[in-house]
């Protein structure tokens, strides 16, 4: 599979402020890739370098096989971009802007525009100054989705959309993925990334801290378990990878008349051993919750300065 975006060791400083400090990002052809990071972590700077608006200080960037600084306009014919904070020309109508951007990208499908205007419920005759934030975003989204682009770069594209429109957006992105287009989706809405993306890159302070497929990343996280067992399990507290263990005896109405409720968080890699011990203790009922992207996210950002692995897949310190 070819790489549509290949970024390695990317650096960019503004004066003494370091915005990007050795960032890596790889997006394969046909993939919908999530690009996550807290505010100010360097997502938008990275995207602007990918678009050739900023010049990188160091590292290598390849976009659609070309150098985004040198070959900006040639590459731009093959991609469509939706900025995070859409500002439009206030005295042009939405329809005029969609037509203009389509023309400047080198073509779009008129029938698709009509369909998208309908799906996103946008009135194209209004002047841009009258649009709300969400409607401005729709203008940029419609013009991007109507373009015949190989790559979509979306910077928090749903931040101003209501839940109905967000659902429409998801359908549209799923259509794009089926059509074989590559999507780089920078987002804060983790459920959206989980629903749409195959691969994810998480950055912090200008560096990549996690990167891989969503399934692969789940291995790095903990599953939370709540189990009622017939008797206290042995040695759970001594097992590696078990966190926040809480065992409470209870008097139940079950066969033994008594038992214990076990609550714990388990590193996904150690799940087998924990389940064996629980089974030995006689499981009466059990609820387990798979790790969410949110937990993954929070673990990296909740405690700044702690546990920052240099290499992406090395694992998460306990």
């Amino acid at each position: 599979m070819t790489e549509v975006i290949a970024v390695a060791g990317l650096r960019k400083s503004y004066g003494t402020t370091v915005a990007l400090d050795g960032l890596d990002l790889s997006v394969a052809e046909g993939e919908v890739h999530g690009f996550l990071g807290p505010n100010g972590s360097g997502k938008t700077t990275t995207i602007r370098i990918l678009l050739g608006l900023l010049r990188a200080d160091g590292g290598s960037v390849t976009l659609l096989g070309g150098d985004p600084w040198r070959a900006a306009t040639a590459l731009h014919r093959r991609l469509a971009y939706v900025p995070g904070d859409v500002t439009l020309w206030p005295n042009l109508t939405g329809g005029e802007i969609i037509g203009l951007l389509g023309r400047l990208r080198g073509g779009m499908v008129a029938k698709r525009v009509a369909g998208l205007l309908d799906r996103f419920e946008l009135d194209p005759t209004k002047k841009a100054r009258e649009y709300s934030k969400g409607n401005r975003q729709k203008v940029a989204l419609i013009s991007a989705l109507a373009a015949d682009a190989e790559l979509l770069i979306l910077d928090e594209p749903t931040a101003g959309l209501d839940p109905l429109m967000e659902a429409v957006f998801r359908e549209c992105i799923e259509d794009e993925a089926r059509a074989g287009r590559t999507v780089l989706l920078s987002s804060h809405i983790l459920s959206e990334v989980e629903a749409l993306c195959q691969g994810v890159t998480i950055i912090r302070a200008g560096r990549t801290v996690e990167s891989g497929t969503l399934a692969g990343l789940r291995h790095l996280t903990r599953t939370s378990i709540t189990a009622d067992v017939a008797r206290r399990p042995d040695g759970l507290d001594r097992l590696p990878g078990v966190h926040d263990l809480d065992v409470q005896d209870f008097a139940g109405a079950g066969a033994g008349g008594a038992g214990a409720r076990v609550r714990c968080e388990v590193d996904t890699g150690n799940l087998g051993e924990v389940l064996r011990r629980l089974a030995d203790a006689g499981v009466l009922s059990m609820v387990s919750q798979p790790p969410t992207l949110e937990e993954l996210f929070l673990r990296h950002y909740a405690a700044p300065g702690r546990g920052l692995p240099g290499n992406a897949m090395e694992g998460v310190p306990a």
């Binding site: 602007r48 678009l51 050739g52 608006l53 900023l54 010049r55 900006a72 306009t73 040639a74 731009h76 014919r77 991609l79 469509a80 971009y81 900025p83 904070d85 859409v86 500002t87 439009l88 020309w89 206030p90 005295n91 042009l92 109508t93 329809g95 005029e96 802007i97 969609i98 037509g99 203009l100 951007l101 389509g102 023309r103 400047l104 990208r105 080198g106 194209p124 005759t125 209004k126 002047k127 100054r129 009258e130 940029a140 770069i153």
Partner: protein, 537 residues
């Protein structure tokens, strides 16, 4: 809760936001008066030398039309004549910018919505804008008084000059408060305020050029800038005239409050209209970036062309009758003969007006070029630059529209001046091509100033807005004030307008125009090269 609750707190916020801008404005106003007063006190020491300039000015409608009437030959009277109108215009501009900034601009940006949701009255922001502007004008009046007195001018006259300038500023603060209710955008509101100022200037100019006995003298009394000159600082100090701007300020401010009570948040009194559902052929054509630049600038261009046409028609129509307005005393006749007779006076007046026109059109061109920077800081150009449109086509299109737009404004003004003066003289066939040519002669100098702005945008984007307007101000000041302040020739030569042949009437040489055009091209190229290498945003 009264509609003015929270005005105090908001005023403190506004003062905090303006803590750099206001002192700069006030300092510039003061320094203009003080330096002019100082030069008249020290460059023209003998009464005879001052009487000679006064006589020269009083008989030259061209000069009177630019700076307003002159009433005496003391150093104070000459200072009030030379810089009074300019400072009154600056004070008015300061007021317009302050008021719009704290009212319509905040409303458009959504800040007033946030503020309005707190314990702040409906009219508090409007009151704050006017209050801050009033305070700034009061401070300017006080400092001008102190500064002029400090360089040795009579204290009474100094106070009259300071108050004449400050009261003009106050009146335009009220005008801007009305403009902020009329237009839904800060840009539109500022344009309305500045248009009102231009009309006031044109009326003052026509009234002053008509001379003390001319039939058009009443026009002077219809303009707030005329009131400022009719206070006659240092030559009578007519304090009662100050009642006019003060009463007008109160009346206009009351109108603005009444209008504000009749509208919703974010709405202007001019309702927004629907537009096209699709891009026109212009925006879908092969030159789409150029089409966009034209689409964005055309309304502004139409406004500027119309304004310049009115301005040119006004000075064109009075040009022919200027000699006769001066009266027929023997002294006047000798003065006219010395200046080259009636036709030479008319031409001299028209040439001076053409210089002024060039400066104004350069202002238009600079504003179009610097629009690039405001688009960049608002991230508007990002959508464009993420398409196949390159940086050069983005900026090149805008520069092309700026240059062509300046040519259109100059051409329209030349045509209007030619028609107006030609019809009055009964010979439009000669006057029209002559004045269109004279207006076009300003184009290379206009392009140089626009080129400076373009070079700054490419090479020093962060400071290009301030530096671009400063360059225009410098070019204007050197050509307008240079000769009177007896600046050395090399200093006057810095301004591109100094090199333009004085047309009509003067001898035409193409060489300086070719050099100016080359300089403009080099500056624009430097800007484009700089832009190719720098970060955007």
């Amino acid at each position: 809760m009264s509609s003015l609750t929270g005005t105090g707190a908001l005023a403190r916020l506004a003062a905090r936001r303006d803590r750099v801008m206001l002192p700069v404005w006030i300092y510039v106003l003061t320094i203009f008066v003080v330096s002019t007063g100082y030069s008249f006190k020290h460059l023209y020491k003998t009464p005879a030398s001052r009487e000679a300039i006064t006589a020269g000015i009083a008989h030259d409608p061209a000069t009177l039309a630019i700076a307003g009437p002159v009433y005496g030959s003391s150093a104070g009277a000459l200072t009030a004549y030379k810089i009074g109108a300019a400072c009154a215009v600056l004070a008015a501009l300061m007021s317009i910018f302050i008021v719009i900034r704290h009212t319509r601009a905040d409303e458009e940006a959504g800040r007033l919505e946030l503020v309005g949701s707190t314990g702040v009255g409906r009219n508090a922001a409007l009151a704050v804008g006017v209050l801050i502007a009033a305070a700034a004008n009061a401070a300017a009046a006080a400092l001008i008084t102190a500064g002029a007195a400090a360089v040795g001018l009579p204290a009474g006259g100094a106070a009259a000059l300071g108050l004449a300038i400050g009261c003009t500023g106050l009146l335009f603060a009220a005008v801007a408060a009305v403009a902020a209710q009329l237009s839904g955008t800060a840009r539109g509101a500022r344009s309305i305020g500045i248009c009102a100022l231009i009309v006031a200037y044109l009326m003052m100019s026509a009234g002053a050029a008509a001379g003390t006995s001319g039939g058009l003298r009443w026009v002077l009394w219809a303009s707030p800038l005329g009131w400022a000159s009719e206070v006659r600082p240092f030559t009578g100090d007519r304090w009662l005239v100050l009642i006019l701007p003060l009463a007008a300020s109160a009346a206009v401010a009351a109108v603005s409050a009444a209008l504000a009570a009749r509208r919703d948040l974010d709405a202007g009194l001019v309702p927004p209209r629907r537009g096209r559902a699709n891009a026109s052929r212009l925006l879908r054509g092969p030159l789409a970036p150029l089409g966009l630049a034209w689409r964005l600038q055309r309304a502004g261009l139409a406004g500027w062309a119309a304004g310049a046409a009115v301005f040119a028609a006004a000075f064109g129509s009075i040009a022919g009758s200027i000699g006769s307005m001066l009266g027929s005393s023997p002294a006047v006749r000798t003065a006219i003969a010395r200046l080259g007779g009636q036709p030479a006076i008319t031409d001299g007046y028209l040439a001076a007006m053409m210089t002024l026109l060039g400066v104004v059109v350069a202002g238009y061109a600079v504003s179009v070029v610097l629009r690039l920077r405001s688009d960049e800081t608002a991230d508007r150009e990002q959508l464009l630059l993420a398409t196949a449109a390159g940086r050069l086509s983005w900026v090149g299109s805008q520069l092309l529209v700026a240059g062509a737009g300046a040519a259109v404004v100059l051409g329209t003004a030349g045509l209007a001046a030619g028609l107006a003066s030609g019809v009055r003289a009964g010979d439009p066939g000669t006057a029209v091509p002559r004045l269109i040519g004279a207006a076009f002669a300003q184009l290379p100098a206009v392009l140089v100033v626009a080129g400076v702005a373009a070079a700054l945008f490419g090479l020093l984007p962060r400071s290009c807005v301030a530096a671009g307007w400063t360059a225009l101000g410098l070019a204007a000041a050197l050509v307008v004030l240079g000769p009177t302040l007896r600046l050395s020739q090399w200093a006057q030569d810095i301004s591109p307008f100094t090199h333009v042949p004085r047309l009509p009437g003067g001898s035409f040489t193409a060489e300086p125009l070719a050099w100016l055009s080359a300089a403009a091209a080099v500056l624009a190229a430097a800007g484009l090269l700089g832009l190719r290498r720098r970060d955007i945003g």
